[in-house]
């Protein structure tokens, strides 16, 4: 069967995936795609501005087309259909015949008929090319306006704001997100948006765009007022791309869209339409989940499965805007006859919540959540599954008082058939099956079921179900640190802090058993250090340290150690370099520039370490903590001081931050980067904490990672001044120190954080847990009690004595042998060694 698919957007690709899954061997598939690239995640398009690349956003697994044999043709717009001949013709005049045609042409952004809207620097917000053009324009603009205050418009406004523009939203209706929220919710939403630094103008009807005086354009409104701006983005709604249907006398919906029946067939039974271009019972769907459902149905219809039908879709939505929680579920406006509502407003914390219940009070019909959408998952499931409401439904949205548990929705109350992830149509039963088959982290669940992989709105609920199922299967043991402590690292941290515990013996006696091991000892040592910050080799603490921390250096393959003096921000004076060089020369050490912008000296034997450090300390250096699960380096670019593009002093900030957080012990190492402008020469977005200068201050990114599994850091706040920046980093780091698992970098911690980025932002920025001050205090304590570990070590004779190869002989370890290579030493390979030193010495009996 010859299948031609027109449009390779999100839904088109889902259709191809469904075909592949159905293993439909007779299918001969050609894909005609207007865009210059294969399908990408339009839902997360805005993340393009936060550093995601087109590749990151791609929905197509590598090898997909090679494996399936589907014929993909990019840059091919279909210009005409000949229904009688059953062919399509592209704009380049190529004609292809089909047995079945599938239209997945999506929508186009609607640009209101305003005079002057075709001037330069006017954009729409739909494709990667649109965003590329906007990014370019933003570099030469100071001010930007978004026309339209709906879901997309607000997302777009936030993006402009993050690009450093003075941003305005112009909305025709009297409130923002008029479709989803009511007046009261709209008021709170407005102040939330304004708090992001976006100015909101409602009830403004743009008549004309002309030349501006101070800026490129002037927008003239019906009420006589005007607004000047350098660039404009239209986000005033979408229209289905039904032009092919109209040209060929296929039926269209009353308000546009290619009319389809329950089987996703158009009025021509050989032509299907799916996704945003389709109109089902005169209704179009501007969300991805209904489109995905249509894609699966069309694929199964083509594969010959009768009886699968499209039955409409839930239009509940959640705005994905950092720091602004907005969600709307079902009948948000209470239009069902006889329904009644409950509302809760907190004007201090800027929270508005409303639930709409059925006339008999038994079922949830809809909800609006603004300012805090924590209940979204629960309420959505209640509405979708018709779960009986508790006796006092108001407690579903009232804040919990004095420790009383909220009437939540236990995962066990949901039927196995409950659809948990609407984007990918994943049911509770499928998640449970995945757990039973061995998936025990949200990352694994995403990988094998796709639940949570699209809009992410379902992640908290998916996590909850996963955990409940793990507990049911007796798998919850995984968060116990080791056989000695029946607690997770996070729990131990709290036990230590709350119990004021300062020694491992006490910790074992009170909360553990046995003698400890190489897992719990360093973990306890790290927790003690982050809580009390005593010298790591003081008394009993020394016996808890891993070899690297015990000798304050990284152990190498031959038992020698490396020496890394701190060079904050990568800045070092010529005299400093000379001092380092002299030490390296004197002790014959291998010298290398590290990937962290400093110098590493290799090949020091234990007894040499204190001597080497004494000299480095005398030259003004401090421990670089290259050995610790602690702050490593703050990488910097040269910044505004020298660079012609720099907008802030990135080196200065990097030095300050490195000095502030040096020595902080954490669940894993922590790396920072500070760049002086968006060119990002310090690669800050690949760091645990990344900072990029803007004209107005600093943008803060968190939870990036290089290494084994690179992950881009995510923007959590923009245009911060230094004080606000430091405060936020204090909170971020301490929250991580408190709650992460052992050896969990910030990136994996973040990926496993229930509630994701929104939750993190709520805790750090909105202080939703009320622990902000405490976190800052704890960090200040660590900062105030900093000491250079090497300085303390070399001046304490008891500690210093322990740096020796043999307890009973001053000679060095003769098994550490070097040979020369490229003018420096390196450890000898086995074949280069004296055989007597390779084997375990024979006993002379």
């Amino acid at each position: 069967m010859k299948i031609v698919l027109v449009g390779h957007g999100m839904v088109g690709h889902k259709f191809l995936e469904a075909l592949r899954q159905l293993q439909f061997p007779a299918a001969d598939v050609t894909v005609l795609c207007e865009e210059p690239r294969t399908a990408y995640d339009r839902v997360h398009l805005s993340e393009f501005f936060a550093g995601k690349t087109a590749e990151d956003l791609s929905l197509v697994e590598p090898g997909f087309f090679a494996d399936t044999g589907f014929d993909l043709r990019l840059n091919n717009r279909v210009a005409a259909i000949d229904r009688r001949a059953k062919t399509v013709t592209t704009q380049d005049g190529v004609t292809l015949s089909y047995d079945k045609l599938v239209l997945a042409t999506g929508s186009y952004p609607f640009v209101p008929p305003v005079k002057g809207s075709d001037r330069g620097q006017c954009f729409v917000y739909r494709t990667i090319e649109d965003l590329e053009a906007m990014k370019e324009a933003s570099a030469i603009s100071r001010k930007g306006v978004v026309v339209g205050g709906g879901l997309l418009g607000l997302e777009c406004a936030k993006a402009l704001r993050d690009l450093g523009l003075e941003t305005h939203v112009v909305e025709f209706a009297p409130r923002l997100m008029a479709v989803q929220v009511d007046d009261d919710g709209g008021r709170i939403l407005r102040s939330k948006i304004e708090a992001l630094g976006v100015q909101v103008h409602t009830e403004r009807n743009t008549l004309e765009i002309t030349d501006g005086r101070q800026a490129r354009h002037r927008m003239v409104f019906a009420d006589g007022s005007h607004l000047e701006t350098d660039m404009i983005v239209f986000s005033a709604g979408i229209r289905p791309r039904d032009e092919l249907a109209r040209q060929n006398a296929l039926a269209v919906g009353a308000r546009g869209g290619i009319a389809i029946d329950d089987q996703c067939r158009t009025s021509d039974p050989d032509i299907y339409a799916i996704g945003e271009c389709a109109a089902w019972r005169d209704q179009t769907f501007g969300l991805v989940a209904p489109g995905y459902e249509m894609a699966r149905i069309a694929a199964r219809q083509l594969a010959g499965e009768a009886g699968v039908v499209f039955a409409g879709a839930d239009m509940s939505t959640k705005l994905k805007l950092m720091g602004v929680d907005v969600a709307s579920i079902g009948d948000a406006h209470g239009r069902t006859p006889g329904c009644r509502s409950f509302r809760y407003t907190d004007e201090c914390k800027q929270i508005y919540k409303k639930i709409v219940v059925s006339a008999d009070g038994k079922h949830l019909l809809g909800a609006v959540l603004v300012g805090n959408a924590d209940e979204y998952g629960t309420l959505l499931q209640m509405a979708l599954n018709g779960i009986a409401l508790p006796e006092a439904p108001e407690f579903l949205i009232l804040p919990a008082g004095d420790g009383k548990a909220r009437p939540g929705l236990g995962a066990h109350e949901l039927p196995d058939s409950a659809q948990i992830c609407s984007c990918n149509n994943v049911s509770k039963g499928q998640i449970c099956t995945a757990v039973a088959e061995g998936a025990t982290s949200i990352g694994e669940i995403k990988a094998c079921t796709k639940a949570g992989a699209t809009c992410g709105g379902c992640v908290p609920l998916v996590t909850q179900i996963m955990k409940a199922e793990m507990a049911k299967l007796g798998m919850a043991v995984t968060d116990h640190l080791c056989e000695h402590f029946p607690h997770s690292r996070q729990e131990l941290y709290h036990l230590v802090r709350v119990g004021g515990i300062r020694s491992f013996d006490e910790l074992l006696a009170r909360h553990g058993r046995g003698l400890g091991c190489d897992i719990c000892k360093p973990t306890a040592a790290s927790i003690f250090a982050s809580c009390w910050n005593d010298f790591v080799l003081k008394g009993e603490l020394a016996s808890l340290q891993d070899s690297n921390d015990y000798f304050l250096g990284n152990i190498q393959k031959d038992g020698s150690y490396s020496v890394v003096p701190r060079m904050p921000g990568g800045e070092v004076t010529p005299d400093g370099l000379i001092a380092v060089a002299q030490v390296a020369k004197k002790y014959g050490l291998y010298t290398k520039i590290t990937g962290g912008q400093r110098v590493d000296l290799f090949g020091a034997r234990v007894e040499q370490l204190p001597l080497i450090w004494e000299e480095l300390i005398a030259a003004g250096f401090e421990s670089g903590h290259a050995y610790g699960k602690s702050l490593r380096t703050v990488k910097s670019c040269v910044g505004s001081t020298w660079c012609r593009y720099g907008v802030q002093d990135s080196v200065g900030l990097a030095v300050e931050l490195e000095n502030r957080y040096k020595g902080l012990r954490a669940p894993h190492k922590i790396k920072f980067g500070v760049s002086g402008c968006t060119r990002e020469c310090a690669e800050a977005q690949g760091k645990d904490v990344g900072i990029i200068a803007t004209e107005r201050g600093w943008n803060l990114y968190v939870c990036g990672n290089g290494g084994m599994k690179p992950r881009h850091a995510e923007l959590i706040a923009s245009d911060l001044d230094k004080a606000a920046l430091v405060r936020l980093i204090d909170r971020f780091l301490m929250f991580y120190v408190r709650t992460a698992d052992r050896l969990q970098r910030t990136s994996t911690w973040r990926d496993n954080l229930e509630g994701g980025l929104d939750y993190l932002k709520a805790v750090l920025i909105d202080d939703s847990l009320g622990i902000g001050d405490e976190l800052e205090r704890q960090m200040q304590h660590v900062v105030d009690t900093y000491q250079c570990e090497w300085k303390t070590a070399v001046t304490d004779p008891g500690v210093r004595r322990r740096f020796r190869s043999f307890v009973n002989d001053p000679q060095p370890d003769a098994r550490i042998v070097f040979v020369e290579e490229r003018g420096q030493i390196r450890p000898a390979r086995t074949d280069e060694r004296d055989p007597a030193l390779v084997a375990t010495p024979e006993l002379s009996t």
């Binding site: 056989e483 000695h484 046995g514 003698l515 400890g516 091991c517 190489d518 719990c520 000892k521 360093p522 009993e540 020394a542 016996s543 808890l544 891993d546 070899s547 690297n548 015990y550 000798f551 152990i555 393959k557 031959d558 038992g559 322990r802 190869s805 043999f806 307890v807 009973n808 002989d809 000679q811 370890d813 098994r815 086995t830 390779v838 375990t840 010495p841 024979e842 006993l843 002379s844 009996t845």
Partner: protein, 115 residues
């Protein structure tokens, strides 16, 4: 198997080993790791980690895994039984255990022969 009387070498004082850590001693040219668990539990095994050939086992963290008293190699974290020298993860990488005696303040080691 040797039938000779064990030869004892004094390696250090009790106070030279911090409880919960180990030191390396040279005993008849052999590198021996001597550990102190708690105040008065002393154990000795070869110091050379067979997996890397480096003389480092005394620098590992000690503790227990189940009923085994163990040290974890600081390089690749494989565990050695302090009483037998057996490597728990890779038996082919086991080492010898040696005898330790404390007389007064002094710690003595007697090497066991290679098998």
């Amino acid at each position: 198997m040797s039938t000779k009387k064990p030869r004892w070498t004094a390696v250090c004082k009790i106070g030279d080993i911090l409880p919960g850590t180990g030191v390396c001693a040279l005993v008849e040219d052999c590198h021996v790791a001597v550990f102190r668990l708690g105040e008065d539990g002393f154990y000795a095994i070869d110091n050379i980690d067979p997996r890397s050939g480096a003389s480092v086992l005394s620098r590992g963290l000690v503790g227990n895994l189940g009923e085994h008293l163990v040290v974890a190699s600081p390089l690749y974290k494989n565990h050695f039984d302090l009483r037998t020298g057996a490597c728990l993860e890779m038996p082919e990488h086991s080492v010898r255990a040696h005898r330790v005696q404390v007389r007064g303040e002094a710690v003595f080691v007697s090497l066991s022969p290679l098998s």
